[in-house]
């Protein structure tokens, strides 16, 4: 059976089983399903690399096509390239970790775990879609789970945040819908990206459709000024919800920007590249400075996500192979790192019941494991060599620096400089929360991470370290597919 089909079917079956089994057992079913997905993703990776090693250079592998709505030429068309495979791996890893972290969920556990799996299903379906309507279907699938996860299991101003998030993301999708339909009508009726990619739409059409698609997906990946759902959404969500939102959901946007906006509309990308770079740089710098001012550890990570996702958009805006590869690497790195970050914050919060930096202190002595995780992931966030953040950001910078022109250079320098600010806020947070004197007597009674929290942390930490130490295989796999994109985007220049 085709691996991609299995990737879709397993969550569907698991969801159906979860409806009928005892509420206590749902989490086991869902965890098993997530582990199966993870194994499948590794198997997919192995087979994918073998195919590539054997010299199979077709742009998409493991393709399957089933007709869905013949009248409109809508197909269930799945296929993967190096970018999709790495995103699938990220999704599977974060899913397992998120389920493990929320192992002790007691409030409506059946619904909670089903929502998590529905989110995963949406993300996996989206990453393998090669038909715009299919992609849109899977993108929209996650609206309800995201909304309810925050509105029901969240904390703080949860209803406000959930509504804001759902409406902004829906507004993004509605732009995507209009863009998709325009593409359909300009391309003699096709939603298939292999067909659309080979079309040569005229410049005016591309310039019309590109903003719709790019802004639509941009909302998902916190494109400035549409980032305002990010801080509230991330910080109100339950731990697993934040891990999903920042780890996977924002990546849907970045992936969509590359796959469905930049590649389908190269002339549009080029026309708007200055604007993309400008907005990305603003997001990077503004995000970093905004983080400096935060007092809530969850807000710190949420704002820093805006800054980090700016690198993804910067890489896309720079359009060359290295920058695009960097953008994808940054998506993976940020996904792993931020999921772990939110996971660690969730573990801290569930023990001390406050997220205010000023009330925390000396936690490393009490909970050495959680503390170490927090510090390691912090170092990854500020770009310490040997961890994934360094690899990704460095690649983006190198790509960006290759681009000629004062504007590009200035943008690159500003983006680089923001790393310093990152170091300031990360080190500040780590110092205040983990080191120093113990602020509160009752902290002494707290316990360190339980087995499920440890395994979730180890999983993501290993991924970060492996990606930091051995990045070449991943970078090569991705750059194999970003090379033709860059050629397409840059040759139009002349």
């Amino acid at each position: 059976m085709n691996l991609l089909l299995l990737l879709i079917l397993i969550p569907v079956v698991a969801l159906l089983i979860s409806v009928f089994v005892n509420a206590e057992k749902v989490k086991s079913v869902i965890l098993l399903c997530a582990i199966a997905e993870l194994i499948l993703c590794f198997e997919l990776l192995r087979e994918f690399m073998m195919e590539r090693a054997a010299g199979n250079n077709s742009p998409y592998l493991f393709e399957i096509v089933y007709p869905w709505f013949k009248t409109w030429n809508i197909n269930f068309h799945a296929g993967v390239d190096g970018i999709s495979v790495s995103m699938l791996l990220l999704t599977a890893l974060v899913t397992v970790a998120a389920i493990l972290v929320s192992w002790k969920m007691e409030d409506k556990p059946r619904e909670f775990f089903m929502m998590l799996m529905l989110l995963t299903l949406g993300a996996i379906g989206f990453f393998i879609s090669m038909d715009l309507i299919m992609a849109f279907f899977f993108l929209e699938l996650s609206v309800v789970p995201k909304f309810l996860l925050i509105a029901h299991w969240g904390s703080g101003r949860k209803v406000y945040s959930a509504t804001k998030l759902a409406l902004m993301l829906m507004a993004g999708s509605s732009l995507i819908l209009v863009g998709t339909l325009l593409l359909f009508s300009k391309s003699n009726g096709s939603f298939d990206i292999t067909v659309l990619q080979s079309l040569h739409l005229d410049g005016e059409t591309q310039r019309l459709i590109f903003p719709l698609m790019f802004l639509g997906f941009g909302v998902f990946t916190a494109l400035f000024p549409f980032h305002i759902w990010v801080p509230d959404g991330h910080s109100s969500a339950p731990t697993a919800g934040s891990m999903f939102l920042a780890g996977i959901s924002m990546k849907l946007g970045g992936y969509g920007c590359i796959r469905f906006a930049a590649i389908l509309l190269p002339e549009g990308t080029q026309y708007y590249s200055t604007a993309i770079i400008l907005l990305a740089t603003i997001a990077i710098v503004y995000g970093a400075f905004a983080t400096l001012m935060q007092k809530d550890i969850k807000y710190i990570n949420a704002y820093s996500s805006i800054s980090h996702c700016g690198f993804v958009l910067l890489g896309i805006g720079m359009m060359n192979q290295t920058a695009l590869t960097g953008a994808v690497l940054q998506m993976i790195s940020h996904g792993l790192m931020t999921a772990l970050f939110f996971g660690a914050i969730g573990m801290i919060y569930s023990r001390v019941h406050t997220r205010d930096v000023r009330e925390l202190g000396g936690l490393l002595k009490i909970m050495p494991f959680i503390g170490s995780v927090y510090i390691i992931v912090g170092l990854c966030s500020l770009g310490l060599p040997g961890l994934s953040g360094f690899v990704a950001e460095m690649t983006v910078f190198m790509g960006a620096w290759q681009m000629p022109g004062t504007f590009n250079k200035v943008a690159t320098i500003l983006a680089c400089a923001s790393i310093v600010v990152t170091a300031v806020y990360i080190l500040q947070a780590v110092a205040k929360v983990m080191l120093g004197p113990i602020k509160d007597e009752h902290f002494l009674t707290l316990t360190d991470a339980a087995w499920y929290e440890r395994s979730a942390s180890w999983l993501l930490m290993l991924a970060i370290i492996i990606m930091g130490v051995l990045p070449m295989w991943l970078a090569q796999m991705i750059s194999h597919d970003t090379a033709p994109m860059a050629v397409k985007l840059l040759t139009l220049n002349s």
Binding site: P67, W72, L148, L181
Partner: protein
């Protein structure tokens, strides 16, 4: 005429026989028990649904006054099916009603009128059908005999429909004056955009606008929906609206196709106003029936977007959407009916915590709301999607953007209700509701429809084949 000439009329003949049969049963007082009456009527409507699956032969008896094609047969089958579901859901309410037999006769007469609208190729026959479809429903809106609200609803309904019929007739008379014929299909060659033609078209569109409650002709909708018994609200919002939408599609594409550039503009204006006003007003409602009334107003705006397509895809997408919308709205109103009958509560606030007290009803209502909001994997997603894909044929970018941003507004209020049911606590939680078997079956049919009509793609392709 031999037998086979009568075959295209089989729906109408069967329905007329059923209505008269009931009259006879009533006169001789053969059935005294309301439940038996109800079962009998469900069986009869089911027979009509089955008729839709017999031979699909088309024809036009009576010198072309009456047309039947396989596409029209499907439309009639959908309406009959919806009527059957409405009857199944009204079990509780009708069980002790003193005038149940009249209820069934009026309901079936209205359905008969709708069948005439769909098949009429003569504008007078069309008008006759339209009146026959409206006046009985006005009487039905008044069927909660001891409630003042219900009489008010009946009165509003009859006045507004009389007014709209007047507008429609005025437009029709101008068209008749221009073309000298009452046959709709022969208007095609005779009507070209011109001052008088446009004036007449505007009047006719206003007439249609009243019947499917487009803004600014929607003012009766919320009051009538709120005052009527829930079954009649369901019938009005699904069957009546569906029938008139089908008729509008046929009128636009067979009667006045040559004036397309004019009516596209009219549709554009009506559509964006309808969607926006419907959605914005829905946000402010506190009564669930009024809430659903405004949501159906907003849905009508999307139907108009679908009509901006080509002559094959526009009717197909509208029929598909109505089918999906039938499942969604009947599911929602079925739950409202169950809650309202058991507790008498109809406010949105009463639905807080429904997920904790009545899990199954809450899940059905949530599915219905997801489908109305157009969220995958429910059928509503595909229904709306195909209206959009159909509309891309001639809709402007502004129209598409308006329509898609309206999806965001509607998401807000649908999700709000979902959240209230799912996570809020109610100080006076509803008691656990036991609904009768028939209503439960109807809700299950609706839920299955919501979940599966969309994701299994063959249905749309089948309709498309028929529409060609």
């Amino acid at each position: 005429m031999n037998i086979s000439d009568w075959l295209p009329l089989r729906f109408e003949i069967a329905l007329a026989v059923f209505i008269l049969l009931q009259l006879v049963i009533k006169i001789f007082d053969l059935v005294r028990n309301n439940e038996t009456w109800l079962r009998l009527n469900i069986a009869l409507t089911f027979l009509i649904v089955l008729l839709g699956f017999t031979s699909n032969d088309s024809g036009s008896p009576f010198g072309g006054m009456f047309v039947s094609t396989s596409f029209i047969i499907i439309e009639k089958t959908i309406l009959a099916f919806a009527t059957m579901l409405v009857l199944m859901q009204s079990y509780n309410w009708l069980k002790h009603h003193q005038h149940a037999p009249e209820f069934f006769m009026l309901l079936l007469t209205a359905l008969f009128g709708m069948f005439l609208i769909l098949s009429a190729n003569n504008i007078l026959l069309f008008y006759l059908g339209l009146e026959m479809a409206t006046i009985p429903v006005a009487a039905l809106a008044n069927f909660d005999l001891d409630k003042q609200r219900s009489s008010e609803a009946g009165m509003k309904m009859i006045l507004s429909s009389a007014f709209s019929s007047g507008m429609l007739l005025f437009g029709i008379s101008i068209f008749y004056g221009i073309t000298g014929t009452l046959t709709i299909s022969s208007w095609q060659e005779l009507l070209r955009p011109g001052g008088l033609e446009v004036l007449a078209l505007i009047f006719i569109m206003a007439g249609f606008g009243f019947k499917i409650s487009l803004v600014p002709f929607h003012l009766w909708t919320a009051d009538v929906y709120e005052g009527s018994p829930v079954s009649i609200t369901a019938f009005l919002s699904v069957v009546s609206k569906g029938a008139v939408s089908f008729a509008l599609a046929r009128f636009l594409f067979s009667g006045v196709i040559m004036m397309q550039e004019v009516w596209i503009e009219i549709l554009f204006l009506l559509s964006i106003v309808t969607m926006t006003v419907g959605n914005l007003f829905a946000i402010r409602q506190t009564n669930i029936k009024r809430f659903l009334a405004f949501s159906t107003v907003a849905q009508a705006g999307y139907i108009l977007l679908g009509l901006a397509g080509d002559p094959v895809n526009a009717p197909t997408s509208v029929v598909y959407f109505i089918l999906v919308y039938m499942f969604s709205n009947l599911a929602a109103l079925g739950v409202v009916e169950a809650v309202s009958f058991a507790t008498g509560k109809e406010n949105l606030d009463d639905y807080k915590g429904l997920y904790n007290s009545n899990k199954k009803l809450a899940i059905v209502l949530m599915l219905a709301l997801f489908s109305l909001a157009g969220i995958p994997p429910t059928a509503g997603f595909f229904g709306k999607l195909f209206l959009f894909t159909s509309g891309i044929h001639s809709a402007s970018l502004v129209w598409l953007l308006f329509a898609s941003l309206n999806l965001v507004v509607s998401l807000y209020y649908y999700m709000r209700l979902v959240r209230m049911m799912f996570s809020e606590k109610n100080e006076q939680p509803l008691a656990s509701i036991q609904s009768p078997m028939l209503s439960r079956i109807a809700l299950i049919i609706c839920s299955v429809g919501i979940l599966f009509t969309g994701i299994f793609g063959g249905l749309y392709d089948y309709l498309h084949q028929l529409a060609k």
